[in-house]
């Protein structure tokens, strides 16, 4: 299916253009989710998209699936309820860096720990965009924001390492510049049986770029191009060469751990068999 057909099929009629600013990377990420769903041939009636609050979380309203635009930080608990109650449904979580790692941070580590089958697409634009540019836990150290006029002094999260440590069994990253890689890793994340997180590095020209000498959307994408390194190449680089760069692609996958809803079905069988 062509991209135009994909947009026509998976976006709700009459809801474009979207609310995102000129050059915002969110549209690219959302398009990549649709490409992945299309590639896997998923039934739209069987897909649930749950989002939190923030710029990226507005994506749920555009997409023609069962969709929940939940509360700030709460996408993962709602998604957990959907998935555990009805495991046959495919659950995709759309969230942002602030939504997922600040107010929703506790939910993130516990969803990862449970290894519940869902695909989290974390739109990382390094900023709270909806409220006008405050720093998030993923704003790079030393960046400026409206609440960091003298630049941030807080170490930022590497969310891929965070969820890996917490128990996620599929971890990937890509950027909106590397949109093909992004669509590919989202596809693999959806296929993965377990908790999958994809960090989608997305540009925010309005609220991050303008404060950090990159107001031009294309400049932000060039920054992605120049700082992202494919995992295979990254693995061969020494520490000095890695400085200031970050890996993209599938960063971690473990298929040996039990998935939560499957484990719960086993628990039901055990309980009904009279065993504790």
């Amino acid at each position: 299916m062509s991209m135009e057909q994909i947009v026509d099929k998976y976006f709700r009629p009459g809801r474009l253009p979207h609310i995102w600013c000129p050059g915002c990377g969110n549209g690219v990420v959302t398009g990549c989710i649709c490409k992945a769903v299309d590639k896997l041939g998923l039934d739209q009636n069987e897909v649930v998209v749950v989002s939190g609050i923030g710029c990226s979380s507005r994506a749920s309203g555009y997409l023609d699936f069962n969709t929940v635009h939940s509360a700030h930080g709460r996408a993962l608990p709602v998604a957990t309820g959907v998935k555990l109650a009805e495991p046959r449904l495919k659950v995709i979580v759309v969230t942002g860096d602030g939504d997922c790692t600040a107010i929703g941070g506790n939910h993130l580590i516990h969803a990862a720990r449970r290894n519940i089958d869902m695909t989290v697409v974390l739109y990382n634009n390094s900023i709270y965009g909806m409220t006008g540019g405050q720093y998030s836990p993923m704003t790079p150290l030393g960046s400026k924001a409206t609440t960091a006029p003298y630049a941030t002094i807080e170490q930022d999260f590497d969310v891929t390492e965070l969820v890996k440590a917490a128990g996620a069994t599929f971890v990937a990253r890509a950027t909106t510049f590397h949109a093909q890689v992004l669509a590919d890793v989202i596809t693999k994340g959806i296929q993965h049986k377990g908790f999958a997180l994809i960090e989608a590095v997305a540009a925010c020209p309005t609220s991050f770029g303008r404060h950090n000498k990159m107001p031009n959307p294309a400049t932000l994408m060039e920054w992605q191009r120049d700082h992202a390194v494919m995992k295979a190449a990254w693995d061969k680089m020494d520490a000095a060469k890695r400085e200031g760069k970050f890996p993209i692609g599938v960063l971690y996958e473990d298929t040996s751990r039990k998935e939560y809803t499957g484990a719960y079905e086993e628990l039901i069988a055990r309980a009904q068999g009279g065993k504790k």
Binding site: W20, G23, Q180, P205
Partner: protein, 60 residues
Amino acid sequence: MKLKLITARCKGCGVCVNFCPKKVLAISEVEKCEAVHPELCIGCGQCELRCPDYAIFVEK
């Protein structure tokens, strides 16, 4: 092969213009993408791939 522009969706961000290897595209006076040299298009799809607004498609 030809380019299809959906001007109503375009916000004129210029990403497509920047990454077009053949300088086919430009931002117009009304801040919309336009194909100024469509004859040079090689159909590489770099514009479609990164357009955040689903406003440009390469028809093959």
